[in-house]
């Protein structure tokens, strides 16, 4: 058998283990395979974040609405591995006069398709699912942005924040440290990300081990397949979302227990309506905007779950 980057234990392997042995066995199994993929994901995320020419990108983002949507889609995955940069950027894009549409697109695209979660989805589940996840996220983020920019309440927010585009000439002169320092900085950032995320990730893995051990396969097979499965997965996936990559491991566990691939996609896409971010955003935009984009994100995850499931025959 080829060397696997993902855990290899099957749900049946957990039978006969004592309660306290389950998470230990699972963690040992996970880390004997998963460490290299985690290491890779964090390192790449750190390097990309450091070397994206942030000043150039930001200048474009500040320059008004023309290419707003495209930029929001392309940039979001690379800049927002750290969740604390996302809401300020959302506010920045909005205040800079790029319009509510690109701001929302950016906000939804960022958690749905950041490099860390895409790399991990690809390595742990499959690159096909990772690819579909990106495409579906683009479609949903774009739709939500465009729809909200047409609603009366979206327009109201936009008017409120409309101002002349910032003229940043002369006020931004980024100094570039030498290459070796930048490499060190990118590794440091990778370590920082790991420190932020791994503790929750570990707790999540413990939870996943119990799910795999105790959740009967017929329950998953009954409830997490077909149309019901997609609806259920999209609803559970949302509130459960924490920016910790656990949803990927848990998704894999459920897939192993018999969840359909369509439901898996809905499950993975259920992130944009995560509550902590919604709260932060509602302080800048109004609740109506937040509810609208949550609704669109949810509908999108159901729609793409169904579409993907139907196309590959795994509903």
């Amino acid at each position: 058998m080829a060397y696997s980057l993902a855990p290899t234990m099957k749900p049946a392997d957990f039978h006969g283990l004592a309660v306290w042995e389950i998470p230990l066995a699972y963690l040992a199994d996970y880390f004997s395979h998963g460490w290299i993929c985690l290491l890779f994901a964090f390192t790449v995320a750190g390097i990309i974040y450091e070397f994206v020419p942030k000043d150039v990108v930001m200048k474009y983002m500040s320059s008004g609405r023309a290419s707003g949507y495209a930029l929001a889609l392309i940039i979001a995955p690379f800049l927002t591995v750290c969740s604390c940069t996302m809401v300020p950027l959302f506010a920045g894009v909005l205040y800079a006069g790029s319009g509510i549409g690109p701001a929302i697109t950016f906000l939804l695209m960022a958690p749905a398709a950041n490099i860390l979660s895409i790399l991990l989805t690809g390595e742990m589940i499959s690159w096909e699912v990772a690819g579909v996840r990106i495409l579906a996220s683009v479609a949903v983020a774009l739709t939500a942005g465009i729809i909200i920019s047409k609603t009366p309440w979206g327009k109201a927010i936009e008017r409120e924040h409309q101002q002349n585009s910032a003229d940043t000439r002369g006020t931004v002169e980024i100094v570039k440290p030498p290459l070796d320092e930048r490499l060190t900085a990118s590794l440091k950032f990778a370590a920082y990300l790991a420190k932020q995320i791994l503790p929750y990730f570990l707790l999540g893995l413990v939870a996943v081990s119990y799910v795999e051990a105790y959740l009967p396969e017929d329950i998953v097979g009954t409830y997490l397949t077909g149309v019901t499965g997609i609806l259920l997965a999209s609803i559970i996936g949302g509130p459960l979302y924490t920016p910790t990559l656990v949803e990927i491991v848990l998704g894999r566990g459920l897939l192993e227990l018999g969840m359909s691939k369509g439901a898996l996609l809905s499950w993975l896409m259920g992130q944009p309506y995560d509550v902590a971010n919604a709260l932060a955003v509602s302080r800048i935009a109004k609740w109506k905007v937040v509810l609208t984009y949550m609704l669109i994100a949810w509908a999108g995850s159901v729609f793409f779950g169904l579409l993907y499931g139907a196309l590959i025959g795994s509903l």
Partner: protein
């Protein structure tokens, strides 16, 4: 006395990395006081309209020296800030 204004720009409430950047700036301010440079460290809110209209959209933490953004999206080192502050002083003299 040379006056230099260092602004640490980040979201409000501040994120961990912005606080780290601010600490670096404050340490440098303390250190440079002895050599006759008066550094004021201020925190600017990346989510306020004033900041956005002045600097554009920023990746936090960002550091501006005398109204010019020099660092974006990373925590600077002490030596780096010190050099930037000294450069700012020389430019004016």
């Amino acid at each position: 006395m040379n006056e230099v204004k260092v602004e640490v720009i980040g979201p409000d409430p501040p994120c961990a990395r912005c606080q780290a950047a601010r600490k670096v700036a404050e340490k440098v301010a303390e250190k440079l006081k002895a050599s006759g440079i008066n550094v004021t460290v201020a925190k600017a809110n990346a989510m306020s309209k004033d900041v956005v209209s002045k600097y554009g959209v920023l990746v936090s933490p960002a550091v501006a020296i005398n109204g010019v953004v020099k660092i974006m999206g990373r925590i600077p080192g002490e030596a780096e800030i010190e050099k930037l502050v000294k450069d700012a002083v020389e430019k004016r003299v």
